[in-house]
């Protein structure tokens, strides 16, 4: 039954910007803390206080827009969105109505199977966050039945960008892919921490369904209260099922806001559109319109790192790295940047990938220091890869050298030369090691001759040990076979 229908989904995200101070005052922009300790006359809306825009927040907005090829207009302005709510100190929110900082743009993203998708952006605009209400006396923290409410204004005035997406998304998986793309892009750019659990990313989904091929959209419901990507996925799935069931049952989907109930796994009606507010937007008279200097925009563009989707295409298509490993790299921007630099020097993406996701990541995990912050420079790793590729050292030695680099820094070549770790490929020298090992392990020779093939591995190991790891293992194996056969 579900296959007859197509879902149409548009996502609106609120993302808290990672600035040192709040949007319109000097209070720290930090999560948590004792209630009402990060406040001042401005963010408490005391009489007579005035907002002053945070220049850094505007720069981060421009970077966010540029990352998605949005248009950055020459002029922008703030507007007041008027409505009463106890956690909104001024009873209006400074937001942007008809002249947002960015217009249009496209979010390119990928699905777990590597399929590339895109979703157009309507706009990204800048506003301020509200405080947080806590409802007490009802037992479950809900407003219904509570006897009083407490408000914490620490979050009030934190810069918030609202990303409005076009209804280009067709499934719950795509919704998650889209959100992951936003998240990894904002993290890469340093625009936001994007922590759903701390509320620095909050999103609503507008969901409707229609028969495949239908020219018009169905009636949409707006889904709220989703606090993880998993819950976004599940809420959308559940809502698609609900709407299809309504239609199949001969009913009509009504336009409303619905809340996701994580525990029950369903959405429930919160309010219908008839109760919608008239926000009485008008230009914020306490702020002057923003004139965006082209030179500033170009400076921001020039300083921007590659966006994750650009890496995704390069890694999968040029380097032939798997979607899973690419995603792993791209989701760790400093590591991806480190990897990019290593490859730029040594031009051996496969080997670089093995080191970066393998031994380097293991060393990083064991020590607790992020891989890209350690003493191993991209130059040193590139050199190590070059030594390995040239068979100057074998992979076992390479591991050791990497461990030394991790512990003390320095250059790979320097360590190999200082410690005489270069691989021994001289058959004469290796023959001596082999003879010694065979003499000391007569028993094993007998076993091998009796057909126990895996004894050879042990003997190779013994030779490597005797050579302190430097012998070329391929030569060792060949010589062992030759010399045992000759006995």
């Amino acid at each position: 039954m579900r296959s007859k229908y197509e879902a149409v989904i548009g996502i609106e995200c609120h993302v808290e910007l990672k600035t040192a101070s709040k949007m319109f005052c000097g209070c720290p922009n930090e999560f948590g803390g004792e209630p009402n300790t990060k406040v001042c006359p401005v963010c408490l809306a005391l009489p007579g206080a005035l907002p002053v825009p945070n220049a850094k927040a505007i720069e981060l907005m421009i970077a966010a827009g540029l990352a998605f090829d949005a248009e950055i207009p020459a002029f922008s302005k703030f507007d007041r969105k008027n409505y009463f709510y106890p956690d909104m100190p001024k009873n209006y929110q400074i937001s942007q109505f008809d002249m947002p900082l960015t217009q249009g743009g496209v979010v390119h993203y990928w699905l777990p199977d590597g399929t590339k998708k895109s979703c157009r952006l309507t706009r990204i605009h800048l506003e301020e966050d509200t405080g947080k209400s806590t409802h007490a006396g009802s037992g479950d923290g809900r407003i219904a039945g509570s006897s009083y409410s407490l408000v914490d204004f620490n979050r009030a005035g934190v810069p918030l960008m609202e990303c409005v997406g076009e209804p280009d998304i067709r499934s719950a998986e795509e919704a998650v892919g889209y959100l992951e793309a936003l998240k990894r892009t904002f993290v890469e750019l340093g625009v936001s921490d994007v922590k759903m659990e701390e509320g620095s990313l909050r999103c609503d989904a507008n969901v409707s369904v229609r028969l495949h091929g239908a020219p018009e959209y169905g009636t949409k419901a707006e889904i709220k209260n989703m606090n993880s990507f998993r819950s976004v996925h599940d809420a959308i799935e559940s809502e698609i099922d609900r709407q299809i069931a309504v239609i199949e049952g001969g009913g009509r989907v009504i336009q409303e806001t619905r809340g996701w109930d994580e525990a029950a796994g369903i959405t429930h009606s919160m309010r219908s559109k008839e109760q919608a507010h008239d926000y009485r937007y008008f230009p914020e008279p306490d702020l002057v319109p923003l004139e965006l200097d082209r030179a500033l925009i170009e400076r921001i563009r020039a300083a921007m790192p590659p966006v994750p989707f650009e890496r995704f295409e390069r890694f999968t298509e040029r380097f032939g790295i798997s979607v899973v490993q690419t995603t792993q790299l791209v989701d760790n921007p400093p590591l991806a940047a480190f990897f990019d630099r290593v490859v730029a020097i040594c031009n051996a993406p496969a080997a670089a990938l093995n080191f970066v996701l393998g031994d380097l990541s293991r060393l990083a995990n064991e020590s607790g220091t992020p891989a890209a912050d350690g003493k191993v420079t991209p130059e040193a790793l590139a050199e190590l890869i070059a030594l390995t590729e040239a068979k100057t050292i074998n992979s076992k030695i390479a591991k050791d050298v990497l461990a030394r680099l991790w512990a003390n820094g320095g250059s790979a070549k320097g360590i190999v030369e200082a410690e005489g770790l270069a691989q021994v490929s001289d058959p004469g020298a290796i023959a001596q090691f082999v003879d010694d090992v065979l003499a000391a392990n007569a028993e094993s020779v007998v076993q091998f001759k009796a057909g126990k093939e895996n004894v050879l591995k042990f003997l190779v190991g013994q030779v490597m040990k005797t050579s302190r790891g430097k012998a070329n293992p391929e030569l060792v194996e060949a010589l062992l076979r030759e010399k045992i056969a000759a006995r």
Binding site: G48, V52, N82, F84, K90, D286, V288
Partner: protein, 493 residues
């Protein structure tokens, strides 16, 4: 030197020269002001201890060799300006007991220049009104006839200076709230260009129009107070980042070569005969000082009132939303938060404030926004354009500051007749221009027994404060109208 009657310049000179201490001035002023204010009602709060504290600080600074432009000058602060630790009410029940936890920029600068805070002055609630009668917390009388209004909204600040209960004071002007009460109380009231004085700490009425300015008994004192308060403030995004041109040392004595615009549409025939005669005389006096009188046209000025009464209420409906009983000020409990809001605001705001919130909410509502708010903004641009064109032919525009001299209490019962008092000041405010009212004679008002002061409004192009105060100074020097009237004797000294 009598600190009650002396000018700010004289007081500051004497204090800087250590002929008298700021504390001595303070100890003279405190009992005098208390006695006068029994009759005048200019103050909502007197701050004698704070005044002494500032006086000691000024004396210490002077003793350390500093010279302060307003050293020891007793100053009254309008009660919509935050002053740390003092009650700041906007003359509203909703803020009746609110103590400001910070000091606004203009007041901070005034005090830093050596001024001494006498107290906080009464006003029309949230600066909405033209008579002072909209105060929810007190009745201020006109020092020149205690049966008449002092004008508004800066009622107490004008009355205090006019009644010698302060040397200078701060006012705020949105559509005439400095100039009209200045005219009624025989003092100089100066509204600088929008953006010249920081609004940080000024409790907003209409953000795009509100501007702080001084009251004084002389142009020079107004200039000194403006020089102290004005200038860019990073805390106010709408304050102008231009170097402040100091005015006090640059005043002039004549008007040779100055073209004074007389507005064709502001015919003196609209005024009472006595009043008309006084203004015609004032224009002639300007000419006698060497000015060339030129007729200028402001064809859109007649739309000023209706434009203003859309824009200002729209902004106030939003600005006053924060008074909700949640964080500070009056709270009247209700069954739920919505009822708490309703009861708090019903009890906390007076009728004129409620009227303007309603008008503004309506004007911004979906479906009406374009027809009212957007159209009013377009009209505002046209009015500003008219002034720009007029200033191609003149340097300053002269007009009445108010439609009549001070009227009796309760004389203007319908709001519109009250709004008409600001007919001449509102277009200037909409254009953001610097302007002032200066005493220009008197007239016997309707039903009055004493001649009441009149004010001449002078308005000049944006950011020409120095020139404007210069013209006013020349007129003042030649006419000395303020000295021709004396306030009612309120205390026997």
């Amino acid at each position: 030197m009598d600190p009650v009657r002396a000018s700010a310049r004289e007081i500051a000179r004497a204090v800087n020269a250590r002929e008298v201490s700021a504390l001595e001035i303070t100890e003279t002023m405190i009992p005098h002001v208390a006695a006068v204010d029994e009759h005048l009602g200019a103050y909502l709060t007197l701050t004698p201890e704070l005044m002494r504290e500032h006086a000691r600080r000024v004396d210490a600074r002077v003793a350390a060799g500093e010279s302060l432009p307003l050293a020891g000058v007793p100053a009254a602060i309008k009660d919509n300006m935050c002053l740390l630790g003092t009650r700041t009410t906007c003359a509203s029940k909703i803020l009746e007991h609110w103590i400001a936890p910070y000091t606004g920029t203009a007041v901070e600068r005034l005090l830093a220049a050596g001024a001494l805070p006498i107290g906080k002055t009464n006003m029309d609630e949230f600066a909405m009104g033209s008579s002072g009668e909209n105060s929810a917390l007190g009745k201020t009388k006109n020092p020149y006839d205690l049966d008449r209004v002092p004008g508004g909204s800066s009622a107490g600040s004008a009355a205090a200076v006019g009644g010698f209960a302060a040397t200078i004071s701060t006012g705020s002007d949105t559509g005439g709230s400095i100039r009209e009460p200045a005219a009624f109380c025989n003092v100089v009231g100066f509204k600088p260009t929008y953006g010249r004085v920081s609004r940080y700490g000024l409790i907003a009425f209409a953000s795009s129009l509100d501007q702080i300015g001084p009251f004084a008994r002389t142009v020079e004192d107004a200039a000194l107070a403006y020089d102290a308060m004005g200038g860019y403030d990073p805390m106010d995004s709408t304050s102008v980042d231009l170097p402040l041109q100091l005015t006090a040392g640059h005043l002039r004595e004549e008007l040779r070569g100055v073209r004074v615009g007389i507005v064709k549409e502001f015919a003196t025939s609209d005024l009472a005969p006595d009043v008309a005669t006084a203004y015609e005389r004032a224009y002639a006096d300007l000419a006698a000082l060497g000015a060339e009188l030129v007729e200028v046209e402001l064809p859109t000025a007649k739309y000023g009132l209706s434009t203003y009464y859309l824009i200002a209420p729209a902004e106030c409906s939003s600005n006053l939303a924060r008074f909700d009983g949640v964080r500070y000020g009056l709270r009247v409990d209700g069954a739920d938060v919505g009822e708490m809001y309703e009861k708090t605001r019903a009890a906390g705001f007076g009728p004129e404030v409620k009227r303007r919130i309603l008008i503004g909410t309506y004007a911004l509502s979906s479906g009406y926004y374009d027809a009212y708010y957007v159209k009013a903004q377009k009209a505002r641009t046209r009015i500003a354009d008219d002034f720009r064109r007029a200033f191609e032919n003149c340097d300053v525009i002269a007009s009445p500051a108010a439609s009549s001299p001070a009227f009796a209490f309760n004389a203007k019962s319908d709001p519109y007749s009250m709004y008409l008092m600001d007919y001449y000041t509102i277009p200037v405010s909409l254009a953001g221009l610097p302007s002032l009212s200066i005493p220009c004679g008197s007239a016997l008002p309707e039903g009055g027994s004493r001649p009441m002061p009149l004010g001449l409004q002078l308005a000049s192009p944006l950011f020409t404060e120095r020139a404007l105060l210069g013209y006013a100074h020349a007129y003042e020097a030649a006419t000395q109208h303020a000295a021709k009237l004396a306030p009612v004797q309120m205390v026997t000294s």
